[in-house]
């Protein structure tokens, strides 16, 4: 394809076939936001049901479907894709790369995630969503009637494949594509933590793949792994699920930690305190994340020895996490702290997440866990770490990187309304749930009975959820009402890292010349030690770019067709779907695609316009 041909495309086709990491990043954000909204609506419906005792706004069966879809959506289809969106857009810019290592696979990863998510949601219209919780414990899940759980298994399998591909792509990108001078120990913390998170994806997701495969074979083909009467064992599912599931929470929180490690130094105008300690803490958290999965299973009868070992191992994670908290505090110490919305979310994160962290240590106390386990205490805990950590991180990232990604700054006034309403709503919703759990309210209950002392706090919790919903509406308004703020978008926050050196909107090749990195926080270094401009590591020349392709969409669509075949036992659909998928892979394999080149004069023209 020639350069001219690569430039002329219609908009829809362009987005369907793009392999540009920035566009894929925005696709991830859009897809993630879509599912985030769905998951949020499910959450509010559940909170309305739990507003008063013995309510029947929705039936118990529907409630179980809501809680399953809410958990599954928020973890797999909202939090992770939203993080992937920022990772996709920002990491290549932060390391001075023109692209990711595998642009094709990157696009494929997105379409697999998106189609997998849509497949899961088709279940709403075909007679019932999955209803066994996002953990889908067997035999409740393997015996669940209808097709809901089949959609769960196949939807997650397809989207999980996308995540795995995305993880490998980030790993190779970060190792192989760094600009000259960008040594590992000069990488921004967001890149570092995304690297460790990708490592966790690589080693955790295959366990889920196998778990889902077994559950699928059990449900659709009569396999007997989990059928006790046939010598099966149901604990295997729980081990496989949590060997994936526990690292999964670190896959979510580590990139969020990375975001805070970018936002806090920028708005404290101070270098990150203890950079190397932060890197090693991230690595240790990632490593320990694999050692503690069974703390989700203290009550399942593993015996006191296993319980004691996993309890102590879990507590150990508090140490590197504490190191991180104190390093952030010391980064703020002596700085000049600006209370922008992005930084408010970072500052709101510290106390919120510490509260979630300490209840994590309490939960790790195995003997006391017998009281906490599967109650609202757990619900409170993981919402504190996931909302107080991950979601706050996503909002900080959104306000921080929005100008670079979309070319306008989000309104600070609306942003602050959003922050305060969300913060108050969040604590109101979840703080009381600690007590509800200890007062005898199990989690995943479709309602509760009057006269058990649970009424008042459930009511407070629901009001908090309403506040959070209002906050979201304000965020939506901010997104649409701020489009006029198009000035000062190249480096609005006095940034420290390479993404702020490229023009806004970012040209498709990112860097006209590959930058030369001379220190951690290279932009800040050049601003204060150099002439304020990044040195180039190469002369201006033609830039090679990959071609757009429709194959990623085709491969993903084929898998969805095959999935319907599996769910409804239609052999031609299975075969047809696989023919589409493997056919597209075959085309990709035999058709050498060498991309196109952007001529020097175009780059020069861009450079002049960029000023």
């Amino acid at each position: 394809m020639s350069y001219a041909k690569a430039q002329s495309k219609n908009v829809v086709w362009d987005w369907l076939t793009t392999v540009d990491h920035k566009k894929v990043g925005i696709l991830y954000l859009a897809g993630g936001a879509f599912f985030f909204a769905l998951g949020g609506i499910e959450a509010v419906l559940m909170r309305i049901q739990l507003m008063f005792p013995d309510m029947a706004i929705v039936q118990a069966q529907t409630f179980n479907e809501l809680l399953t879809m809410h958990g599954t959506t928020m973890i797999f289809l909202a939090a992770m894709p939203l993080l992937f969106g920022f990772m996709n857009f920002i990491i290549p810019l932060q390391i001075g790369a023109r692209d990711v290592a595998f642009p094709f696979l990157n696009a494929l990863g997105f379409w697999l995630f998106f189609f997998g998510g849509l497949l899961l949601y088709v279940s709403l219209f075909t007679g019932g969503a999955p209803d066994a919780g996002w953990t889908a414990y067997v035999p409740l899940s393997s015996n669940s009637p209808g097709q809901g759980l089949d959609y769960y298994v196949l939807g997650l399998q397809v989207s999980g494949l996308g995540t795995l591909i995305g993880g490998i792509n980030f790993l190779v990108t970060i190792i192989n594509m760094r600009a000259p001078g960008m040594s590992m120990m000069r990488m921004p913390l967001f890149t570092w933590s995304s690297f460790v998170a990708s490592m966790l994806i690589l080693f955790a997701f295959p366990a889920l793949t196998i778990g889902l495969l077994l559950l699928m074979l059990e449900r659709l083909f009569g396999a007997t792994y989990f059928a006790v009467d046939f010598g099966g064992n149901i604990i295997i599912w729980q081990h496989l699920f949590w060997i994936f599931g526990h690292p999964e929470v670190y896959i979510l929180i580590l990139p969020a930690f990375g975001i805070f490690s970018e936002v806090i130094p920028t708005f404290a105008k101070k270098r990150l305190f203890g950079y190397s300690a932060m890197v090693f803490a991230t690595l240790i958290i990632g490593f320990l994340g694999f050692m503690v999965w069974a703390h989700h299973m203290f009550t399942v009868g593993m015996g006191p020895v296993a319980n004691a070992i996993f309890a102590v191992a879990t507590m150990a994670i508090a140490v590197p996490t504490g190191i991180k908290i104190f390093n952030w505090l010391l980064t703020l110490w002596g700085g000049r702290i600006q209370f922008t919305t992005a930084n408010l979310f970072a500052l709101g994160f510290i106390p919120s997440f510490v509260m979630g962290g300490v209840t994590g240590v309490m939960l790790a106390t195995s003997a006391a866990n017998y009281q906490f386990h599967d109650t609202y205490f757990v619900v409170a805990h993981f919402h504190y770490v996931i909302i107080g950590g991950v979601v706050f991180g996503l909002f900080a990232a959104a306000f921080y990187w929005w100008p670079k990604m979309f070319g306008y700054r989000l309104s600070e006034t609306l942003g602050k309304w959003f922050f305060w309403l969300f913060l108050i709503g969040f604590h109101m919703t979840f703080f009381v749930q600690h007590f509800l759990g200890l007062m005898g309210m199990p989690r995943r209950v479709a309602s509760f009975l009057p006269g058990q002392g649970l009424d008042a706090m459930n009511f407070i919790s629901t009001i908090g959820a309403f506040l959070m919903s209002i906050a979201f509406i304000i965020l939506l308004i901010a997104i649409f009402a701020s489009t006029k703020n198009r000035d000062n978008v190249q480096d609005p926050w006095d940034g420290r890292t390479l993404e702020w050196t490229v023009p806004t909107p970012v040209p498709e090749y990112n860097f006209a010349q590959t930058p030369l990195v001379r220190d951690l926080d290279p932009y800040w270094y050049e601003k204060h030690e150099g002439d304020g401009k990044i040195k180039a590591a190469e002369p201006l020349g033609e830039i090679h770019m990959p071609n757009a392709t429709v194959l990623p969409v085709t491969i993903s669509a084929g898998l969805i067709v095959a999935s319907f075949g599996f769910i409804y036992h239609v052999l031609p659909l299975i075969i047809g779907g696989f023919i589409i998928t493997f056919g597209a892979m075959f085309v990709r394999s035999i058709k050498e695609d060498h991309g196109y080149h952007i001529p020097v004069d175009v780059i020069k023209r861009d450079k002049e316009e960029g000023k």
């Binding site: 035999p139 004691a308 505090l329 003997a367 005898g440 995943r444 058990q452």
Partner: protein
């Protein structure tokens, strides 16, 4: 100032223990196991409040002291880090965690200790009763293997006696939780789990299933009823060898009711030693506090339950009985009979 620091965690605990219903809340323990767990919760809470206070103090100081003031444009000193500080905030958390980890490991082993040999000093066996708890969708079966008793929904236990519990499940995974007496253990199909508890005082304690097990998971409640050992003996004896009035009730209405029962109910439910075991044992049904695990015990609720079981407990196995199956007259007789199923009162 010093006193305030000391008061803070105490007032927090006071706040905690004011929460919830006495026979349900884990914050108001009524037996040694729940007490052990409660004191572990308290210990962890003290340590964690200490951590929170330290972090919050630094945090508030930092954001107040180092906030940007109008017109301030200075560039802060770019500090790289501080090894001494890193060592301090690595070591102190480790010590704090050890303070929690050691008692936790000890308690974990104590709670898993099912032996009743009473230790070295007296050498006597601890008084104990064994109960095999089988969870079903969505009800509980309590079998006392040494006493030849099977009961449904209400687990009678003697006070001041160690209750050794074996947990099983007949279908999906459930979890057995009596917050005021002991933390939970799971009922796992194919696996037998063990736990123990004790109730020093008489009382009725609420139990709940805490593992998602289907639509009526939230209604899968049961009761643990602690009675004095003499009453418990009477109960166990009568459960094992039921009094004659259960099978041959007094009064014509109840006799008719027994007839309806034999026609419609007995294939699933047992009274005394007659009847099936697909549903809960009903030998002492007249002494229940609730129907179907949660409805107040009265005849209107009982009739409503029998007429439409799926409405009141969706997904459960019991069929509903409409007017054709049991007409109004038969229903009254059945209710009278069921209400007469009492074994403790004379």
């Amino acid at each position: 100032m010093k006193y305030i620091w000391r008061l803070l965690p105490i007032s927090f605990i006071l706040l905690l223990s004011g929460c919830g219903v006495e026979n349900l809340s884990a914050l108001d323990p009524q037996g040694p196991v729940a007490e052990m767990q409660y004191s572990l919760i308290q210990l962890s809470l003290y340590i964690m409040i200490f951590v929170l206070v330290v972090v919050f103090a630094i945090y508030i100081f930092v954001i107040v002291r180092f906030r940007e003031r109008p017109g301030d444009t200075h560039i802060p000193k770019q500090v790289h880090g501080n090894r001494t500080l890193e060592i301090i905030w690595t070591t102190i958390p480790i010590l704090l965690l050890l303070m929690l980890a050691i008692p936790n490991v000890m308690d974990t082993f104590t709670l898993a200790d099912m032996s009743v040999d009473g230790g070295v000093e007296d050498g006597e066996e601890i008084d104990h009763v064994r109960v095999e708890v089988t969870a079903h969708q969505f009800w509980w079966e309590f079998e006392y293997p040494d006493l030849d008793v099977v009961a449904g929904q209400d687990m009678y236990i003697p006070t001041d006696t160690r209750i050794l519990i074996e947990l099983q499940s007949s279908d999906v995974q459930h979890s057995f939780w009596v917050p005021a007496l002991a933390g939970k253990q799971d009922n796992v199909p194919g696996i037998t789990n063990e736990m123990w508890l004790e109730a020093p005082e008489e009382g009725v304690f609420m139990g709940k299933c805490t593992e998602l097990c289907g639509p009526s998971h939230w209604l899968m409640d049961f009761k643990v009823i602690a009675v004095d050992p003499d009453t418990f003996d009477t109960w166990a004896t009568n459960m094992a060898e039921p009094p004659a009035h259960l099978a041959e009730p007094e009064g014509q209405v109840a006799v008719d009711g027994r007839g309806v029962f034999e026609e419609s109910c007995i294939s699933c439910h047992a009274v005394g030693d007659e009847g099936g075991n697909i549903g809960p044992d009903l030998t002492n049904f007249g002494e229940r506090e609730v129907i179907a695990g949660y409805l107040d015990y009265d005849m209107d609720n009982l009739e409503a339950w029998l007429r439409d079981t799926q409405d009141l407990k969706p997904g459960n196995e019991m069929p509903s009985f409409n007017e054709e199956a049991i007409n109004a007259e038969e229903m009254d007789a059945l209710l009278e009979y069921l209400d007469s199923l009492k074994i403790l009162e004379e």
